[in-house]
């Protein structure tokens, strides 16, 4: 076990050294008990700029390492992360509250980004072509962009970090990572694994801070920073885009979703419910890809609701770190309050409660798995990300109607379609305004696939080959010979 996993007071990681920052400590809580499990340092604006300086210094060396060399370092990151998966899973379950099976799933998924980008590192292949005028050749090459600021959320503390770190390092760029204060321990643990795998000092820097606004803003205005990758809410994303515009930074934004989950009459009800349980309940519903608006065609609505209610009502609640737990706590108490408000509003608008719809007594940020039927299209729960274990179900009659309803949002991250007619499912997939569509599956995430949204759900893509291009610039050279 690495030291950092048991260390209860963790300092900033800047240029390979540690720093206590402002001196003040940020407590990290176990959301199942409310107890403090560790503290992390609180970075000031100056600490953020020191991290940028360290990353800029490291960039001069890291960019010159051969792609094969970088690939081998990333491959070792993958191997080590797999080796440490159990300790990392416990850490994630502790600070985030998700169940051990979700945590293990996340670590496996997160590690795969290192493997994928170890393989992609050698594929920064440019192009040569003849200008249509015939006067010269057009050479296009990929170069690393430089220092990237990475801002990650608490819901997938490992995967959101590796999904940015791995492609950035593969491309030859260096990073300053600012993880969420709710879940900073996983970020520091991953940085530690990377260092052990051979990532040089300064290539990955980690700063935690209570003053996220001023610290990130200062970094985005430092001329040595050239890129921003953010995963989080659309509201914060828009603010960061404004900040990043001052220096014309390249931005990769993975923002909010409001995923529609469409089940047609000809779908297999059992597999639709299986998929829905994954799409809804992974991470207790706290995922940007979570099924938020569930549309079921009238002919199978009763059958589906009955099975869904049985499954949701049967989930065992408890601390994420207990093996038997199927539904852990939310990340904090204010999340519980927000979910409760959305459910109460939906019920006032006429929704029927089939199970749940309340928070249990006692400690911990728990909310009962909930199924609502007959949800009004006008309810706030339909237009906002729920980010909790609540299935809000509406019924529909025809394909055109449900496609229009699904598209009636400013967001467009992921969508799910269940139908026994693959032809219909593909047709609907093409019609949905969404960056990702899962057909007869409850999960879209895959390091080999381009993850990202349309409309206000984001800019750019993570994963796949495209993910590495977010950390490169294309240089075009015109030459006659």
């Amino acid at each position: 076990m690495t030291a950092i996993l048991t260390d209860r007071a963790i300092d900033l990681l800047i240029g390979g050294g540690t720093s206590t920052g402002s001196g003040e400590r940020i407590p990290v809580l176990d959301p199942a008990t409310g107890a403090t499990v560790a503290t992390v340092a609180n970075a000031s604006v100056d600490d953020g700029l020191l991290a940028v300086e360290a990353a800029a210094e490291a960039f001069t060396h890291w960019r010159k390492r051969s792609p094969r060399d970088r690939a081998e370092v990333l491959r070792r990151c993958f191997d080590l992360m797999v080796e440490r998966s159990e300790e990392l899973s416990v850490l994630i379950a502790t600070e985030n509250g998700k169940t051990m099976s979700d945590a293990r799933g996340e670590v496996g998924y997160a590690a795969e980004f290192f493997r994928w980008y170890s393989e992609e590192a050698v594929r920064g292949i440019g192009q040569v072509s003849l200008s249509p005028s015939g006067t010269n050749r057009i050479i296009a090459v990929q170069e690393p962009i430089g220092v990237a600021v990475l801002v990650t959320p608490w819901n997938f503390p490992a995967a959101m970090a590796t999904r940015k770190i791995a492609p950035a390092l593969a491309a030859g760029s260096t990073v300053v990572l600012k993880p969420a204060t709710e879940t900073p321990l996983t970020a520091y643990a991953i940085a530690d694994i990377c260092r052990e795998a051979g990532v040089p000092d300064g290539v990955i820097n980690v700063v935690t801070t209570r003053k996220a606004g001023p610290v990130v803003s200062a970094m985005l205005h430092d001329p040595r920073v050239r890129a921003l990758s953010f995963t989080g809410s659309t509201e914060v994303g828009v603010r960061l885009l404004h900040e990043a515009a001052d220096q014309v930074l390249k931005c990769s934004m993975e923002l909010g979703g409001n995923a529609p989950f469409l089940v047609f009459d000809d779908a297999d009800v059992d597999s639709a419910v299986d998929g829905l349980m994954i799409a809804k309940m992974r991470n207790g519903g706290q995922a940007c890809t979570a099924a938020n608006r569930i549309y079921v065609q009238r002919g199978i609505a009763d059958a589906l609701l009955e099975r869904l209610t049985d499954r949701m009502a049967g989930l065992k609640m408890g601390p994420g770190t207990e093996e038997a737990t199927e539904c852990g706590p939310l990340v904090n108490r204010s999340s519980v309050d927000k979910v409760a408000d959305l459910v109460d509003g939906a019920v006032r608008d006429g929704a029927r409660v089939l199970t749940g719809a309340s928070a249990p007594d006692g400690p911990g940020a728990f909310y009962r798995p909930t199924v609502l039927a007959g949800v009004s299209a006008e309810s706030q729960i339909v237009s906002e990300e729920i980010f909790g274990p609540v299935a809000a179900v509406q019924t529909f009659d025809c394909e055109g109607e449900v496609v229009a309803a699904a598209n009636s949002t400013d967001l467009g991250l992921s969508a799910y379609v269940y139908s026994g007619d693959l032809g219909r499912a593909l047709r609907v997939a093409e019609a949905l305004e969404s960056g990702m569509v899962a057909i007869n599956r409850g999960l879209v995430s895959d390091p080999a696939a381009p993850f990202g949204g349309v409309k206000q759900s984001g800019l750019g893509r993570e994963g796949a080959h495209e993910g590495m291009l977010e950390y490169t610039e294309t240089k075009y050279i015109a030459v006659a010979w």
Partner: protein, 469 residues
Amino acid sequence: MSTDIRVTNPYSGDLVGTTANMSEEAVECVLRRASAASRGWARTPTHERVAVLRRFSQQLEPHVEELAQLLSAENGKRISAARDEIRNAGRLFDAYATEALRIYGQNIPGEVQAGFENDLIVTTHEPYGVAVLVTPFNFPVSLFTHKTAPALATGNVVIIKPSQYTPLATMRMVELLHRAGVPEDVLQVATGEGRRVGEQLVTSPLVQLVSFTGSTAVGVNVAGSAAKHLARTKLELGGNDPLLVLPDADLDLAVSHAVSGRTLENGQCCTAAKRFLVHSDVADEFEGRLVAELGKLVVGDQLDEGTDIGPLIHDRAAAQAAGQVGRVIEQGARLALGTGRNDGALLAPQVLVNVTADADVARDDEIFAPVWPVIRFTDDQVAADIANSSVYGLHASVFSRDTGRALRMARELEAGLVAINGSGLYKPAAIAFGGYKMSGVGREGLTAMAQEFTQVKTIAMRNILQGPQ
């Protein structure tokens, strides 16, 4: 009917091992087993095939010395070169396996043509089926790898037919691949006389792909035979690669590459520099330095660590090369180094000067031995014309300090690869390796894998995008 084939060390003549000279029935049995295995292997998920090949790659290290000894003994190459070839093969299996994970289909837009607006058109890459891979004696393990690894990774079933002179290291590699988890029927070896066994394999209707590396004369026959059932045919054939030294070249660099680009594998490489086109202004100095450098090389037993140049593949090859040298002299050239005579399978370096542009060696007479024919020129375009006067077009190289001039020359040369300020004996795994003209058909290498070892299937879902209203 057939007796075993003896494999001997070309330097000492000692017996290294024997292989079966397979009968017609035995070859037919190999073909049937391969054909029966092809569907199952094609349907095995790529990641599982890749895992098996990577496992082989990871398990190779303890066997490197044993394989290198076998390879050096049967082929005559230096022991250090044999070790490099084996280790590199291990890395290549890993690289091809990894690359196979990146073979993607496409989504073709139907809407660009009236009448197809509502069609959803996708493509997938599928293996051909049974691939017959024929390898020569010069790089038995390397060429086995450049064919077998991509063929297996993409889901083809392989029958490997190694050279009858150098089958042993290949057969051992196959055993190790089986041990790593490649099913026995998915990878089989056919041994025996090339003409008979090879002919039976490439004319079989059970075979869908033939990949051959060898001489152009045999390659033309293979293509003709394979055409009987239209098996896809990929050919890596001979070359008579030019190395051009322009008057502003760095002569130290040019001489050092003229030596290294011709001595690897004792000159028996398809991509060795074989014609040395040197500008008259620097020719005297080039020839002088070349003779001086070559005079330092040690010729002898390849298993001896100090040897620079070992034997050719057999006595006949050395005698043939000596005969070719004699012909260049008859056509007006003069020996500046060497005697023009072989000693058994050994041929010491031979430098031929005053070679004219109309000599056979300046065009199509490929010499597979450590021989340096130097042809002088005074004009870049004339040099390009001489270089292009060959039926071959494998690799070429240009030495000049003026990159623009070198690039313009690169544009003129009819060759699959032009190296600038380095010899054409150049083969990073990532390039698409292959020749122009009679040097071959198709390309090998990581970036060419999908194109060479898979066929595209288009699946059109008619009117699927037109929904009920």
